[in-house]
Structures are given as C-alpha cells and as structure tokens.
C-alpha cells in the first residue's frame, strides 16, 4: 500500500504524518508512507487544500486533519 500525506509545512500536516505512521505500525499493515510537501506535487495530485491523505492514488481526505480512528478506516 502506498500512503501519501500531503501538506505544505503547516504544523497540522507534520502531526498528521506522524499519526499516519503510528497507525500503520499499530495495524501492522505493509505500507509505504510518503510525505509530499512540495506545492506543485500536491497540485499535481489534484488536491487544493491540505492536509490530505492519498491511499493508492485515491484521495481519502483533504482540507482537514482526521483523527486516528478515521485514518484506520482509510487503510482498510
């Protein structure tokens, strides 16, 4: 699984990246977690509002920070 955490350096984005990694460890899923913080790269994903989570190319959430329960759902 490929999980991309999109953010442009605001503090909530950094926290979200950590939260996603924790959830991946908790669930024990095999996943590659990538931080995307370049604005052009974010836009190229078709996302305009951050923080956002993209799992295997599908935008799961954009424009807000989900909590851990929600992140777990995205990874199932």
């Amino acid at each position: 699984m490929k999980i991309e955490v999109l953010g442009m350096g605001c503090c909530s984005c950094a926290k979200l990246y950590d939260a996603v990694q924790e959830v991946v460890t908790e669930l024990g899923v095999r996943a590659e977690v990538i931080k995307v913080d370049d604005m052009k790269a974010v836009l190229q994903k078709g996302v305009m509002s951050t923080p956002a989570i993209v799992v295997d190319g599908v935008v799961k959430v954009a424009g807000r920070s989900p909590n851990k329960e929600e992140i777990k759902k995205y990874l199932r």
């Binding site: 442009m8 350096g9 605001c10 909530s12 604005m39 052009k40 974010v42 836009l43 190229q44 994903k45 078709g46 996302v47 305009m48 509002s49 951050t50 190319g57 599908v58 935008v59 799961k60 954009a62 424009g63 807000r64 920070s65 989900p66 909590n67 329960e69 929600e70």
Partner: protein, 315 residues
C-alpha cells in the same frame, strides 16, 4: 438556561455584587463562554456535513464553466462555506486559475471566504439576532462580488506570477462517502475544531468581558461614536495589521456595540480584521505581484469603509 448558569456562578456561588466592574466583566465571561461554545458545536457539525458535498476541488469545475457574472455570485456564496487555512490560500488560488476560473471570480472567493463564514454568522445570529447576521452576510457577499468584479475588469493577469499559469493539475480520484460516513466525519471534526479554537474564543470573550466591565460607557462614544465622521476609516486602518478570524471577532464586536459603537463602524472593524491581514498578504505574495496585492487590499479597504458608512447612515 445560560443566564441561569451565570447567575448561579457569579451571584450565588461567588457571592459578587452586581454593578461592580469585576462582577460585570466576569458575568459577561461566564454567560458567554458556555453559550458560544454550544452554538459553535451545533454550527460546526451541521456545516461540516453540508460542506462535505462541496470540496473546492469540485466547485472549481462549476466556476470554470459559468458565465463570469454568475461566477462571481457563486464564488462569493461558496466562499462562505469553504474556509481555508492560510497555508491553503496559494494552492486554492492556483487550482482555481488552472481550472479556468477567471481571476476576478477567484478573488470573489478569496474575499468572501475569510470574511464571511458560517461560524461567525451563527455567532452573530446567537448574540445579536438574525438581522445583524443577515446584514453582515449580505454586505460581505456584496463586497466579494463587487471587489472580484472590479479586479476582473481591470485585467490584472499580468500581476500574477507567471509560473501560476504553467502548473497543470491532475484529476483527483475521490471516494464518495456515504451519508453515515459524513455524519461520523462531521462529529469527529467538530471535536477536533472545538478543541483547537476554544482557547482563542475564550481569550476573545475575556477581552470582550474586560471591555464590558472596565471601559467607561462614554469612552467609545467620545472617540468613535456617530459624531466622529472619521471613525469608520480609523477602525479599518486599525484593523488591517490586526488579524483574528471573523468568529473570534464576534465577542469583541459584541462588547464594542454594547459600549455604543455604531453598528456600521463595528461591522467595518470586524471585516477589516478578518479579511485584510498582513500574514495572508505575505502568503499571497507567492502567487501575486506586489501591485496586485496593493490593488486587492485597497479595493477591500474602500469597500469596507463604504459599507461601514452605509450602515451607520441607515441603521
């Protein structure tokens, strides 16, 4: 209910005497904090559900297809429902332009979004009644439509950084959530957001309480009352370097109105603080040349001053 609670805490438990500065300040605080937080929780929950149907990634497509004037109106209305954190201002701007949304229409969105939002509107409604909330919304939307339209007519595309026009966006793949999932999302988001904004709201209400309790009643009347024709531009000038969200401004405006500041002057102050801010201008500098930022701030300031005078004249 909230009045009962405040009476209980301030007069019964703390046994304070009504009429003293400290009692008045504290009463204002104890009465307003729970009331505003409850209103906020309800407002955020409902709006989050509605908003989940209109992410900016979708709305930009509608706006790109509409005729320009209809576009201004829609952009201003959508702006009400779409708040963005200031770090998203730049990607939102680029995304709109890339989707073919005209520059002026994009500005209508950028103006209305920070100035008019549902949280501020419901706070205004809760504290002043629906008329003030409606006046604020109508004037904010009008400023956004007119301001964006003027920027569009001036054809200022040359003052947008060139790289903006070169970025190509991909089509995002979305999963459409079920209604149940939207409810759960909204509930979670309400808690997260309330936790985030409660300290700011509490500080804002505390400032409101201090003004309410300590600033003499004729202080504001003497300097910024109806007798001073320069009060409106003055408060707008004071408001520009200050930044607070429109929602955080409501308790402060409440206290100022309470002390006799005319409604138009108070609304102008609220708009200036929320819509024109140095931090946002600095962020927008990444996509706009300094001249366009100047035009943007200038048009907004003039429109807000005009609105202030208008409401002082008719109310």
């Amino acid at each position: 209910m909230f009045e009962y609670f405040a009476d209980l805490v301030v007069y019964q438990w703390l046994n304070l005497v009504p009429g003293e500065h400290f009692t008045d300040a504290l009463y204002f605080f104890v009465y307003d904090v729970p009331k505003i937080l409850v209103l906020l929780a309800v407002a955020i929950f409902i709006i989050t559900i509605i908003r989940s149907y209109f992410p900016p990634e979708k709305t930009k497509k509608y706006l790109g297809q509409k005729r320009t004037f209809v576009g201004h109106i829609l952009a201003a209305l959508i702006g009400i429902m779409t708040p963005f954190c200031s770090c998203s201002a730049v990607p939102l701007f680029i995304g709109f332009i890339e989707a073919g949304v005209p520059l002026g229409v994009t500005f209508s969105f950028l103006i209305s979004s920070p100035m008019v939002n549902e949280i501020a509107l419901i706070l205004l409604w809760g504290m002043f009644g629906w008329k003030v909330a409606l006046i604020y919304m109508a004037s904010g939307v009008t400023i956004a439509i007119v301001g964006g339209w003027i920027i569009g007519r001036l054809k200022l595309e040359r003052w947008v950084e060139e790289y903006v026009f070169e970025i190509k966006m991909a089509e995002a793949v979305w999963t459409e959530p079920t209604f149940g999932a939207r409810l759960v999302d909204a509930r979670n988001f309400t808690f997260v957001l309330l936790k985030q904004i409660t300290p700011y709201i509490v500080v804002a209400i505390a400032i409101g309480g201090i003004i309410h309790g300590y600033v003499p009643d004729n202080f504001i009347m003497a300097y910024a009352g109806k007798g001073n024709p320069f009060a409106v531009p003055l408060v707008v000038l004071i408001g520009v370097p200050l930044y607070n969200s429109a929602s955080g401004m409501v308790p402060i405006v409440y206290a100022l109105l309470d002390k006799g500041l005319p409604l138009g002057t108070a609304l102008a102050f609220m708009m200036a603080v929320s819509a024109i801010s140095f931090p946002e201008m600095i962020i927008l500098r990444r996509v706009l040349k300094i001249q366009l930022i100047g035009v943007f701030a200038g048009i907004l300031a003039v429109a807000i001053i005009f609105t202030g005078y208008l409401f002082n004249a008719i109310m």
